[in-house]
Amino acid sequence: MTMDVPISKKQDGEANAKSEGEAPGTVNGCAMPLPMLRPGQPACVECIRAAGQAITRKLSAMGIVHGAHVMVLNSQPGPLMLRVGEGRYAIGRGMAQHILVTPCQ
């Protein structure tokens, strides 16, 4: 229950920011969770959603912040191999779920 409050708050904030008011996570719209991204498709990090402080900071330190350019490099099950700038990271799918991205050219 307590977990829900900040989530919905943040989703609202995001919906306000985008005039379309689209729910995050839809595939055709803007933001989708990182694991849904097609391998090889370049994308921009939209936001880190509903992650704890520990995860947020860890991601920040790796350069996974709003606006970062990312690309998923692998397609097998298990952790994702992610390219962020010149860095390569292995990132668990659970954690990747918190990262919302928009595909770009």
Partner: protein, 728 residues
């Protein structure tokens, strides 16, 4: 390779400065540290945490420069012990400056750490390492411009080729000579955050340490980020703690309302904003990011089908190197200590202080030898691990195994220690250092002894042929190893579900680009770990060896059931053929040794334990041998040889096997193997667990827990087996 030690004569009275060497993991920090300090370095641990503390010295221009090698970190938050240590060293040990090693080929992320050091307000030098790689990738960095923007000196270097080392030394001397010390640029966080920072800075006036480091602004920033260590510190030390923390709460809420995000996200965003702003001005990238060489290697090594066979091949090679190359070396060390013991026995003045002789030969040489004998294996294993790590493959191995390890509640990186455990548990437990999460690390450490180590093999090799037909041999051996693996998985799951409950550590790990490891780097790496093993585990093992020796030797005065000396003399006087006489004497001496052992404390303990181990099908003889096995598992075989008076026994000893077959059933034989597999790991393991977990609690828990588990399982197997009449 290039060792750039300046030859300033010692004794020149110069200034002494302390430099903290910081940087991201894989930024080449260790290479630089080695190049700066050459061999003048020492390794220890930071008190209270198992984070390695490396320090070194060098001289330049008559100035003595002391280097503290901070642990490699991406950030300076309080979430991992390494980050906390790095931060605390800068705050508490007040070095004169920080040299931050930056991987210039991955600039923006590496500068994130630099910015956090800048926030601490300490003079800093940026060492732009791997500049050649950055240029090869098409990034051209205007170092002068960047240096202006950050207001810190920047040195271009390629540490592993020795480029830029002299310039860096010069810069250190230069910065140390500046008065007042040069302050790096201040990162501005934008109107809203700055306003809140000002409020908090003001509230903190008066509760800031007199030294001026950390500054009130830094404390305010950390409070706003929700940094637990700083919040705790304020709560303990500040007079107006409640007021300050209330203000922090208000500010955080305000920022969420106004900017729509948590303060820590906003602050991280601004830091990256500052960095990318600077980089836009000073860095030109001519080439679009595309798949690098490293990515192409990854396409093969982490391929969905090929990755597993390649991984298994790599592990096979590691094992091959460790044991095939190590075993002959082990043999040499063993024979050296054997020779040393014999030499002392031979030249020892006849009849003089026999106890002292026994202590030196059996206790000390035997004990030290028992530790040193594993050194080739350990060094080779660490050599292999260093090569895997430095080349970048280790991170891929963890990546590949994560899916499977995750299912048993562990981390991808736990796989490596478990695998090493098949060789020897001691380096396995030391290898858990690569695990960042404390719970993952303890779990791995506690279950690692269940991976059947090499020292247990002699026990199986003795027992299996003694009781079982040849067709079963391989299958039984396989079964024992399999039981160990299954138990390790079950125990890991159990521990993660109970004692080490909690969210699985989020799996994020850098996959560093593949690199050719340098010979020097790999050797230094290997030696550091090997030396730690020798020094620390060695002292404790030596102590316990002496205790074991005493248990087996005392009490001295014993009433023999017959007069052996007399009997031996009788044999000699009987004019028997030499061969027959020798045989009789040997028999008598074995019988005497057996009686002495029965009467020793170890024997008495074995007797005392008999009622307890009877339900497992064990008698006091097995009990005594098990006590010996605590010193080192393979000692079990030799001990059984002594209790059964068959003289020098090894795992191929036919008379010992005959004795075993006469006295025990196959079921008991199986139970001995089972108990040896699961029960109390050897004392070296306990010692190293204590050291690595930093507490006796976990070491004793491992000892007690595994022994209890062994007892219960063996009890069930023996009782069920007896009732059903299997193998009796």
């Amino acid at each position: 390779m290039a060792c750039e030690c300046t030859g300033v004569a010692p004794g020149i009275q110069g200034l002494r400065v302390t430099v903290a060497l910081a940087g991201n993991p894989n930024s080449g920090k260790t290479t630089l540290f080695n190049a700066l300090t050459c061999s003048r370095q020492h390794v220890g641990n930071y008190p209270g945490v198992t984070v390695e503390k490396k320090e070194g010295e060098f001289e330049h221009d008559g100035m003595e420069i002391h280097v503290i090698d901070l642990p490699g970190t991406y950030s300076l938050t309080a979430y991992s012990p390494e980050e906390l240590v790095a931060r605390n060293v800068v705050i508490n040990e007040a070095p004169d400056m920080v040299v931050d090693v930056v991987d210039a080929s991955n600039l923006e992320r590496n500068l994130y750490l630099a910015v956090q050091f800048m926030e601490l307000g300490i003079p800093m030098i940026l060492a732009f390492n791997m500049s050649d790689l950055a240029e090869a990738r098409g990034h051209s960095i205007d170092i002068e411009r960047l240096s202006e923007l950050f207001q810190v000196p920047i040195i271009r270097m390629v540490a592993h080729k020795g480029q830029g080392i002299q310039e860096l030394k010069q810069a250190i001397v230069h910065v140390a000579g500046q008065t007042p010390a040069q302050q790096p640029a201040t990162v501005k966080y934008g109107g809203h955050i700055e306003a809140e920072l000002d409020k908090l800075t003001e509230a903190l006036q008066g509760s800031v340490p007199d030294s001026g480091r950390p500054t009130a602004r830094w404390l305010a920033l950390k409070l706003l980020e929700g940094d637990e260590a700083v919040i705790g510190q304020i709560r303990r030390e500040a007079k107006n703690a409640i007021d300050v923390l209330q203000k922090v709460e208000d500010s955080r809420n305000l920022l969420v309302r106004e900017l729509g995000d948590d303060a820590e996200i906003l602050i991280a965003d601004r830091r990256y904003g500052f960095i990318s702003g600077a980089c836009q001005e000073a860095v030109r990238s001519t080439v679009e990011t595309r798949h690098s060489m490293s990515d192409r290697i990854d396409m093969v090594l982490t391929h969905r089908v090929l990755s597993i066979p390649i991984f298994l091949l790599m592990m096979f090679l590691v094992f091959k190197l460790t044991f095939a190359v190590g075993d002959p070396l082990m043999g040499w060390i063993e024979s050296f200590f054997g020779w040393l013991g014999e030499a002392i026995t031979t030249y020892w003045p006849e009849g003089a202080a026999p106890l002292l002789q026994s202590l030196i030969v059996d206790g000390i040489i035997g004990g030290v030898g028992g530790v040193v004998v594993f050194l080739p294996n350990i060094l080779l294993l660490f050599l292999a691990i260093s090569i895997l790590e430095d080349s970048g493959y280790m991170a891929r191995a963890a990546f590949i195994m994560d899916r499977f390890m995750h299912k048993i509640g562990l981390h991808g990186k736990s796989f490596i220690p478990m695998l090493i455990g098949f060789g020897c548990t001691v380096p396995a437990i030391m290898a858990t250092r690569t695990l960042e999460n404390h719970r993952d690390r303890l779990t791995t450490m506690l279950v690692a002894p269940l991976m059947s180590c090499g020292a247990r093999l002699p026990i199986y090799a003795l027992i299996i042929p003694a009781f079982f037909p040849a067709t079963w041999h391989a299958r039984l051996l396989w079964l024992i190893y399999f039981i160990g693996i299954v138990l390790a998985i079950v125990c890991a799951k159990l521990l993660r579900g109970t004692l080490f409950k909690g969210e699985a550590a989020p799996f994020v790990m850098e996959l560093p680009p593949y690199r050719l490891p340098t010979v020097r780097g790999v050797l230094v790496h290997m030696w550091e770990r090997g030396w730690l093993y020798l020094k620390k585990a060695g002292t404790l093992i030596l102590g316990v060896s002496i205790v074991m020796w005493a248990l087996l030797t005392f009490p001295q005065k014993i009433e023999y059931s017959r007069d052996y000396n007399q009997a031996i003399e009788d044999v000699s006087s009987k004019q028997l053929p030499a061969e027959e006489a020798e045989e009789l004497v040997a028999e008598l001496e074995q019988a005497r040794a057996s009686e002495e052992l029965a009467n020793s404390y170890a024997g008495r303990i074995g007797h005392a334990f008999e009622p307890l181990i009877k339900p497992l099908g064990f008698d006091w003889k097995i009990g005594t041998a098990m006590i010996g096995a605590f010193a080192a598992k393979e000692v079990f075989v030799a001990q059984m040889g002594i209790v059964y008076s068959v003289g020098e026994a090894d795992e191929d000893s036919v008379p010992l096997r005959d004795k075993l077959r006469e006295n025990y059933s196959p079921l008991v034989g199986f139970c001995i193997m089972l108990f040896s597999l699961i029960s109390a790991p050897c004392m070296a393991t306990i010692a190293v667990t204590k050291r690595e977990s930093n507490s006796w609690k976990w070491a004793l828990f491992q000892l007690g827990g595994l022994t209890a588990l062994a007892y219960v399982i063996t009890l069930i197997v023996y009782q069920v087996g007896s009732i059903c009449g299997i193998g009796v």
